[in-house]
């Protein structure tokens, strides 16, 4: 394993030091592993997210005006714990309640659930939005359900804008839920990620195969497929997403995120193919992000997220945001 780290067990603690050093506008609680805005905005609904580390910039890179108030960082690929989330809620909520933005993984769900109970006991009103947008997973109430992936970024941005402009907890929760319900994602891996604590790739992927529908922790996807040209891969991603939800007749927000090990030139290349496929199918892309937004350590590959937006969502999307990884209008 070749990584820029000291001790595998200290990766998260050491990375948080760098976040603190690079971002004076953020307050890093090293004990609770919470990255929060240095100055919470009084009277504003507090947006709190979090999850396992290794998906950076998600979530800490999205803390700041117009987006999250706090992010709880778990160990690499491991959900954070309820005490972290409670500490976050206590730090950034100012009386208007808190929205928990939770990716649908058992660990995250259970820990955020315990945290909501604890916060409730402390008199902090909490609502939760669950993101479960990964079309690679068969949806079923009998299983853990769909995984939460790229739509999380869009929920954080859009709900963040709503909260910033003064919407109350119910309203913020409502728009967050609408985004979560209208976003769909699918990813593809060219290589496995390597966890610092494990030291070798989490799964074997032969030189001529890809994992279509991979999860951001390396969960297997729909199929092991032969390595294919980028335009074919783009077609598979687009087709799977469009088969799952209607994206016609509405403005669409598209995000093509790298998984960590794939260079930007390839992401733009894939996005070129995606854009022309969407155009062929009569879908109007209104806004686009191309880059690393939700990653899986050093995994090579990408994920595509499409959101069926509406005018309200577009307006909130365009509202100012000022975070480490997403910044405009401010």
């Amino acid at each position: 394993m070749k990584k820029l780290i000291d001790a595998p067990s200290e990766v998260l603690a050491d990375a948080l030091k760098g976040v603190a050093a690079a971002h004076p506008e953020l307050a890093v609680d090293f004990a609770a592993r919470v990255v929060a805005r240095a100055t919470p905005k009084p009277g504003k609904v507090a947006l709190i997210s979090g999850g396992g580390s290794g998906h950076e910039p998600l979530h800490s890179g999205f803390v700041g005006p117009g987006m999250l108030d706090a992010a709880c960082a778990g160990e690499v690929f491991t959900s954070p714990t309820p005490d972290q989330m409670l500490a976050a809620a206590q730090t950034v909520s100012t009386g208007a309640g808190a929205l928990f933005i939770v990716k649908n993984y058992t660990g995250d769900v259970l820990n955020f659930e315990m945290a909501a109970e604890l916060a409730d006991a402390e008199g902090i009103a909490v609502k939760t939005v669950l993101v479960a947008d990964d079309v690679a997973v068969e949806d079923s109430t009998w299983t853990a359900g769909r995984r939460g992936v790229g739509t999380t970024v869009l929920v954080e941005k859009i709900a963040g804008a709503a909260a910033e402009e003064g919407a109350d907890l119910d309203a913020v929760h409502a728009v967050a839920t609408r985004v979560a319900e209208n976003g769909r994602s699918m990813g593809v891996a060219l290589t496995s990620a390597t966890l610092p604590s494990v030291g070798k790739p989490s799964f074997d992927l032969p030189e001529d195969e890809i994992e279509m529908g991979v999860g951001i922790h390396g969960e297997p996807g729909r199929t092991r497929a032969p390595l294919a040209p980028a335009s074919e891969i783009a077609d598979t991603l687009v087709s799977a997403i469009l088969a799952d939800h209607d994206f016609t007749g509405a403005p669409v927000i598209a995000m093509l995120s790298g998984l960590g090990g794939t260079p930007l030139i390839e992401l733009y290349l894939v996005y070129g193919a995606v854009a022309s496929l969407l155009e062929q199918r009569g879908i109007t892309v209104a806004r686009v992000l191309v880059g690393d937004y939700i990653t899986s350590l050093d995994m090579a590959g990408c994920s595509l997220t499409l959101l069926r937006a509406d005018d309200e969502m577009l307006r909130l999307w365009d509202a100012p945001v000022s975070t480490a990884a997403l910044r405009w209008g401010a």
Partner: protein, 219 residues
């Protein structure tokens, strides 16, 4: 303060349990992570070892005065350090056991069996997994039942614990052919079959550690 075969678990017995659990987990962490890498995300060993280490340190720093305090302290340590699905679930197991026993100085077989049942019920309530879903419940539930049966039958404590450990081991092995319906492994669908569930494996270690710790102290 060595325990005797008087049919009760003292605070020292429970402490020995937790230390033994930590020891066994430390030894098995790599194996657990390997199991998790087959059908999960390759962190179960690391997660749980972080947690049992925290329990060990916490019990050393602030030795609890009674059984309930010990279980609660252990549960809090697990909840706040393990993370992942297993952290909240193991945490819940211990916190519900703590609630069940209250500030008791010692636990007899019946009290222990009730507490363990309450703990497992907490795990099921939180995780919404049923037996057969290929989770830690598949090891915990049979252990709870074996313990209750033994207690109801008036079996001695150590024998009861051994029965529970044996039941957990059987439950653990029974996860191999199962298709996971909860947790990360469920994403694999049919491909999750033919693998041991990591959480059921650590749960069997937990129950075995109690039997072993007790047997060593009275043995």
């Amino acid at each position: 303060m060595t325990g005797t075969e008087d049919g009760r678990l003292t605070v020292d017995d429970l402490t020995a349990w937790m230390l033994r659990f930590d020891e066994r987990i430390a030894a098995e962490a790599e194996h657990l992570t390997e199991l998790d890498s087959a059908i999960g995300d390759a962190d179960h060993g690391t997660n749980i070892a972080r947690g049992t280490g925290a329990v060990r340190r916490r019990l050393a720093d602030a030795p609890p005065g009674d059984a309930g305090a010990l279980l609660k302290s252990s549960g809090m340590a697990l909840v706040s350090t393990v993370g992942g699905a297993s952290g909240s679930l193991y945490g819940t197991l211990f916190l519900e056991m703590a609630k069940s026993v209250g500030p008791a100085p010692e636990l007899d077989t019946a009290v222990l069996a009730d507490a363990f049942r309450a703990g497992v019920a907490g795990v099921v309530a939180r995780g919404r997994a049923e037996p057969g879903d290929k989770t830690m419940v598949d090891a915990l539930q049979p252990a709870a039942e074996a313990l209750s049966v033994a207690a109801a039958g008036g079996r001695p404590l150590l024998e009861s614990l051994r029965a529970a450990a044996a039941a957990a081991a059987v439950g653990r092995d029974a996860t191999i052919p199962l298709v996971a319906r909860k947790g990360r492994a469920s994403y694999l669908g049919e491909r999750s079959a033919d693998h041991l569930d990591p959480g059921a494996t650590s749960a069997a270690i937990l129950v075995q550690a109690l039997a072993d710790a007790r047997s060593e102290r009275v043995g």
